[in-house]
């Protein structure tokens, strides 16, 4: 990361942060509901700051500690209706070149990398590669101008932090 002035001198494809959101979800004083995550709050904050909607996202890196993690985040971030995450995924929507939401083209945490409590940065790295056009040719998203990176940390049902980042190719 660097200042805009230095970035322009680097002769590299530039990527800028459009919007970001953070939210904790706690134990809710016993008002427990395990069917959503803090993404329902961090997502809208990031989309509002960026001035875009889920339909504008060309690529998403979403933290995948488990498959259920991804399903919940896809729903909470608004990429499909709540409860439709399973169908959205089984329809092939996460496959680059096939679906609506090319996803974790580095293999993600389940198939490639999960550096302990640093799983968030690898999500940002692959999103930046996609925006720069530097992802693997077999999975590079065409005209990838806006991408999202998102993660949760902690327990998925309760007691976690949620962070959403939306970036654009400058």
């Amino acid at each position: 990361m660097t200042s805009p002035e230095v970035a322009k001198s680097l002769k590299r494809p530039l990527v800028k942060v459009m919007g970001a959101g953070e939210a904790p979800k706690g134990q809710m004083g016993g008002d427990v509901n395990l069917t959503y995550s803090g993404a329902r709050w961090s997502g809208p904050t990031a989309f509002a700051e960026a001035g875009v909607t889920p339909k504008d996202i060309k690529y998403a890196s979403i933290y995948d500690s488990f498959t259920i993690t991804v399903l919940m985040q896809i729903e909470d971030l608004g990429f499909c209706e709540k409860g439709q995450g399973g169908k959205f995924v089984s329809d092939g929507n996460l496959i680059s070149g096939v679906g609506k939401l090319p996803f974790n083209t580095d293999g993600g945490g389940l198939c490639n990398n999960h550096p302990a409590n640093r799983g968030g940065i690898t999500k940002v790295i692959e999103a930046v590669r996609q925006l720069r056009g530097e992802a693997h040719p077999k999975v590079q998203v065409k005209n990838c101008d806006i991408a999202l990176a998102h993660g949760t940390g902690g327990s998925l049902g309760v007691r976690h932090g949620s962070a959403t980042l939306i970036m654009e190719r400058v």
């Binding site: 706690g26 134990q27 809710m28 004083g29 016993g30 008002d31 427990v32 395990l34």
Partner: protein
């Protein structure tokens, strides 16, 4: 009971905030807290209401009846045990354990009631068993 081994509960750490809760557990009573400012019950009990942050919280005795909101059984251990969220009759949902049961037969929505399990060096721990 189909399990040969039963997992012992570790003793609770009692502090000033939770002492009334554990004192009640000694007498076989399950307490929760109610905020007289925002009129909401909560669990686990706090001095400050987790919803409105008022200190006008008071102890109330729960009926001890509830239903299973969700449950999960840890089997990869010598003494399998079941964790669950149980929604109390009074409203709040508590993270707890299900005991004296066949874990394979538990169901979401199943009626359960509080039981108190002894610990070696501390007050008994509230858990829930199927009705």
């Amino acid at each position: 009971m189909t399990e040969a081994k039963v997992r012992a509960f570790p003793p609770a750490v009692v502090n000033a905030e939770s002492k009334p809760y554990w004192d009640a557990a000694e007498k076989g009573k399950l307490l929760y807290k109610f905020c007289t400012a925002c009129k909401k019950p909560h669990f686990y009990p706090r001095t400050l209401c987790p919803f409105c942050f008022s200190d006008k919280t008071e102890w109330k005795e729960a009926s001890g009846k509830g239903v299973i909101y969700s449950h999960s059984t840890m089997r990869r251990t010598p003494e399998p045990y079941t964790l669950a969220y149980v929604t109390l009759e009074e409203g709040p949902t508590a993270l707890t354990g299900i005991v004296d049961c066949d874990p394979d037969k538990l169901k979401i929505g199943q009626k359960v009631h509080v039981v108190f399990k002894p610990t070696k060096e501390g007050p008994p721990i509230p858990a829930f068993a199927p009705d």
